[in-house]
């Protein structure tokens, strides 16, 4: 018998973390304010109360310390899940992530595994001060030895966090913070989830393909609705995994539609869109009716929040890019 309930992304992640901790007592949570407070976004709400201070650990305010100690815990056989409070605070931990977490398995020729999940609330749109709205995914996807995924909805949040924790490699787990408490979705806990490192067509279409992940999936879906009203059929793919990329559904789609637009909140220059455009061009060259276009943030620092909606890709900018692919 399956029961379903309507949940937010925050709730889905919270339930997923709880389930992972119930399933494996080696799973530890650590981060700033994750204990009594339940995290500044309440993602770990109630977990310290139920699993104790040894498993849900309030850390000193030092990101390198959080990730560096997680390496030691992983060597001891634990599966640490660490929370970086905001995207812009991950950089103090950059050396530990890039030089230590990402390389231990390679350096030890597979003798040591690093089953660490680094949760990062990412993206903008919440009216925050600087360093609270960034999209650092390309910096981690560029690093060999790290896997990078981004959830976009409550149901994926519930399943993907559990799959990331059960995975034996380090996973950078990106959560679109603007979506935490936004839309609700129906969760069926008895369902079988799709594998973690797979992309998925979330809306079929035939005229152009829009690639999105994390916060821009919602934008892309709205674009598809608006385009449909104008008689244009957009196929939307939620990439879900950024490293490794799951390109098969993308190639299949672009070979049908002949047009591809990528959208993300990160800067366009050397962002995920650049890699996606290169791969699509290499593999779908004779199917393309137009160059792959990218819609992302400008190559400027994240602006003051009163104008962030002029900075982030929105429905109109994505539709404008779609229009441009038809102008070729």
């Amino acid at each position: 018998m399956s029961t379903t309930q309507k949940i937010t992304l925050a709730k889905g992640l919270n339930m997923g973390l709880r389930k992972a901790m119930e399933d494996d007592d080696k799973v530890l949570l650590m981060g700033e304010d994750v204990g009594k407070l339940g995290g500044v976004f309440r993602i770990t709400d109630g977990l310290q109360k139920d699993f104790g201070e040894d498993r849900v650990i309030d850390s000193p305010l030092a990101e390198s310390g959080i990730v560096g100690t997680a390496v030691g815990m992983a060597l001891r056989g634990y599966r640490p899940v660490v929370e970086i409070q905001f995207d812009g605070f991950v950089y103090p931990a950059y050396d530990q992530i890039v030089c230590q977490v990402a390389k231990y398995t390679y350096r030890s020729q597979g003798k040591v595994k690093m089953p660490i999940v680094i949760r990062i609330p990412f993206g903008g749109g919440i009216g925050a001060v600087e360093h609270h709205s960034e999209s650092p995914e390309a910096q981690f996807a560029h690093t060999p030895g790290l896997k990078v995924v981004a959830c976009s909805n409550p149901v994926d949040g519930y399943w993907m966090i559990q799959q990331a924790i059960a995975h034996d490699d380090p996973v950078i787990f990106l959560e679109p913070k603007r979506q935490y408490h936004a839309d609700k979705a129906e969760l069926d806990e008895s369902a079988t989830p799709e594998p973690l490192f797979t992309s998925r067509v979330v809306r079929p279409g035939s005229d152009a393909t829009v690639l999105a992940y994390g916060p821009t999936v919602k934008t892309a879906l709205k674009c598809a609705e608006a385009a449909e009203a104008e008689g244009r059929s957009l196929e939307v793919i939620d990439l879900r995994t950024l490293s490794p990329l799951d390109m098969a559904p993308v190639y299949e789609s672009v070979r049908r539609t002949g047009r591809c637009v990528v959208t993300h909140e990160a800067h366009v220059n050397l962002g995920m869109g650049a890699e996606l455009a290169a791969r699509v061009t290499e593999q779908c060259f004779y199917s393309l009716e137009a160059p792959v276009l990218r819609v992302g943030a400008f190559d400027t620092p994240y602006p003051p929040s009163r104008i962030e909606e002029e900075y982030l890709p929105d429905l109109d900018r994505v539709l404008d890019a779609v229009d441009r692919t038809f102008a070729f």
Partner: protein, 385 residues
Amino acid sequence: MSDPVSFGPDLVDVFGPSQTDGGPELVQLLTPEGERVHHPEFDHDFSAEELRGLYRDMVLTRRIDVEATALQRHGELGIWAQLLGQEAAQIGAGRALRPQDYVFPTYREHGVAYCKGVDPLRLLGLFRGVDQGGWDPNENNFGLYTIVIGAQTLHATGYAMGMQRDGVVGTGDPERDSAVIAHFGDGASSQGDVNEAFIFAASYNAPVVFFCQNNQWAISEPIERQTRIPLYQRALGFGFPGIRVDGNDVLATYAVTKAALQRAREGNGPSFVEAYTYRMGAHTTTDDPTRYRLNDELEHWKLKDPIERLKVYLRRNGLVDQEFFDDLDAEAKELGHHLREGCKALPDPKPLDQFGYVFSEMTDEIAAQRDEFAAYLASFEGSHS
């Protein structure tokens, strides 16, 4: 003109005048002249067997270092990080460990690796360029060498936090109670990671000993560039005790480290050991210390040699005979042979080996790159015949 502002206590009043010889706080059990002295807090009743063992360990450790340095000069190693002069610090610390204790080394801990049973030949792989650490960290409880200085102190602290959760701290069972030792140098003491490790370890009362070999030089930068107070005194500011020990005195280093580890195993938290020593060689085989330090300093420290003082003590007290030295010499020669022959026989990795072990299982993306490269390599086959 107004008087200069007065602000807090004078450093000299708190820490005393700066010392160039380790100062009166230096824990010592064997003087550079080979005189056995006693310390009210840290002492140990060494048997003749133990003393001969420590001497043997230091001689063999120096042999590893000398052989590896020579192998680098002969072009067999790309680089080597020498430990000459630091044998007592490493053997004293290494022999204080129990099998269940875990070591997080820098890239210079060849003597500690030897104590933990890692075949010294394994250490050469990293420096020859055939691997990046050829040993299994969990086989010998000896982590991989860490080149980004200080990063491993956080790993050590996290590992120690894992021990706490495994219930292997403070149980009263000597076979069970465990601790971690984090090695680093005076240069790394300036790193953020090391300071964060101190804070985490103190906050969680983690069973970790921070073992700093203050060899006075961070490549070309003297200790004065890293600190204005004796390093061991920093520990108190973080909330745990610090001790300065004569790092060229294997007996004192052993006694102090043993006490620090035991304190950690008993559940009484972290501590800091500053092994006051000297880097007699270059930073690595690519360094040239004549550009930045005076020969006088080197000559001064030669008189404090860690091996000589124990040799004098053993001889003077009739604890060794010529046969002991002859046997040890033969053993050292055999070790040298093992390293020389073994090093040259270390197999080079194959071009396609670089694709392995990026992840626990190879991803399709990397497999595709490997296959493409394999096909590219194969396209040359036969073209040069």
